[in-house]
Symmetry: C2
Subunit: 208 residues, 2 copies
DNA sequence: GTCTATAAGAAGATAGAC
DNA sequence: GTCTATCTTCTTATAGAC
């Protein structure tokens, strides 16, 4: 027995195609071919091409919701991650940031989701909502909470926490966009990430 | 006599449609309808749909090339813009940054070009090249040159100029992406831009 | 340079056998 | 649940009159 059902495999292959060509650039025949079935068989699993697309968006929304809940359960506001950051060395912070960046860059699904949402954000309201939530609002909010706590404890230069969060996150965002468009520049981007974090901590982090 | 020829109006309306729906999401009939001619008339001006798209890409490349040349002619490296920055007050810098951001955000063509390149970057190598050049490499390079000169003259905290350039530019880039996807959040984004520049100058600019 | 008419093929989706 | 065969509509593009 296969682990992945045909229904799931359709979503996987469709995502793969949508992430490069966009919804309108992909035919149901291409999806079927990638799944190694004939076109009409698709319709036993999904009632239309739009239905496949919607299922992918739902999957993205589900993953996002689960991750957001797990962050709350782990108790970010209670200070778990803050404690982590307080006792971290500059080198560890740099390694942590690089690792996080590499995860977002290399994780197959994360990368495809991001590319699909990037393409579809202007014509699909749900895609737009998910794009902004996942790649802009959520990271900024997370970093803000962290930095606020650090500033309160004088582990960080006092400043507007949301602006500091943007100073920390936005270079990562830009470099992700760069690598999504030009994967061959990954090494250069990684070098940038390291120097960015290094310079950020020098500027913002007190009592090294 | 009309100022804009039919040939140019086709490009304008096609761009408008491509910038939201992408190349594959637009039919030649839609373009013709927007131009208020019938579909076959399009083919007297362009030999195919792809030809229209390529002409838009060429237009983008031309504008970019011209701007790049005018920057060189104005003599950035000779220090014109640097002089400007050296004698600028914090308030002026904030106003200048906000104005630049607003131009990129509101200028009709700039906005549509950016959205089209965002959509098409993953399936069209030329679109990818233009996207990275215009919205990542070029701004970073410009700011780097500026900051290097300022650091040399001790008008700026000494640090890696390219990293500082990224610290200055990447929040603008992220906020442009936000506004492209969620135009209703423009005011919030503008507020962020102001606070970002204010905090940036506080951190990086010496001898106010 | 614009139109009507139309060709030629692709694309989404269904019917019905197995 | 997969297939072959087929329908219908949409889409790009051309022919040829005006």
């Amino acid at each position: 027995m296969e682990k992945r059902t045909t229904k799931q495999r359709i979503l996987d292959e469709a995502l793969d195609l949508f992430a490069t060509h966009g919804y309108d650039g992909v035919t149901v025949a291409q999806i079927a071919h990638a799944v190694k079935i004939k076109t009409p068989s698709l319709y036993k699993h999904y009632k239309s091409k739009q239905d496949i697309f919607d299922a992918i968006l739902e999957e993205i929304a589900d993953r996002y919701k689960k991750r957001a809940e797990s962050i709350k359960m782990d108790g970010l506001d209670a200070g778990k991650d803050t404690e982590l950051f307080l006792n971290i060395s500059k080198e560890q912070l740099e390694a942590m940031g690089t690792q996080l960046f590499l995860f977002f860059l290399h994780d197959e699904f994360t990368r495809k989701y991001r590319r699909m949402l990037t393409i579809e954000q202007f014509r699909n309201p749900t895609a737009s909502r998910l794009y902004v939530a996942q790649y802009i609002d959520s990271p900024i909010h997370y970093q803000s909470t962290l930095f606020e706590a650090m500033m309160e404890r004088n582990n960080m230069r006092r400043a507007d926490a949301r602006t500091a969060a943007m100073h920390f996150y936005s270079p990562m965002f830009l470099l992700l966009c760069l690598c999504d468009s030009s994967p061959e520049r990954e090494e250069e981007a990684l070098d940038f990430v390291r120097r960015h974090i290094s310079q950020f901590t020098e500027i913002y982090i007190t009592g090294e």
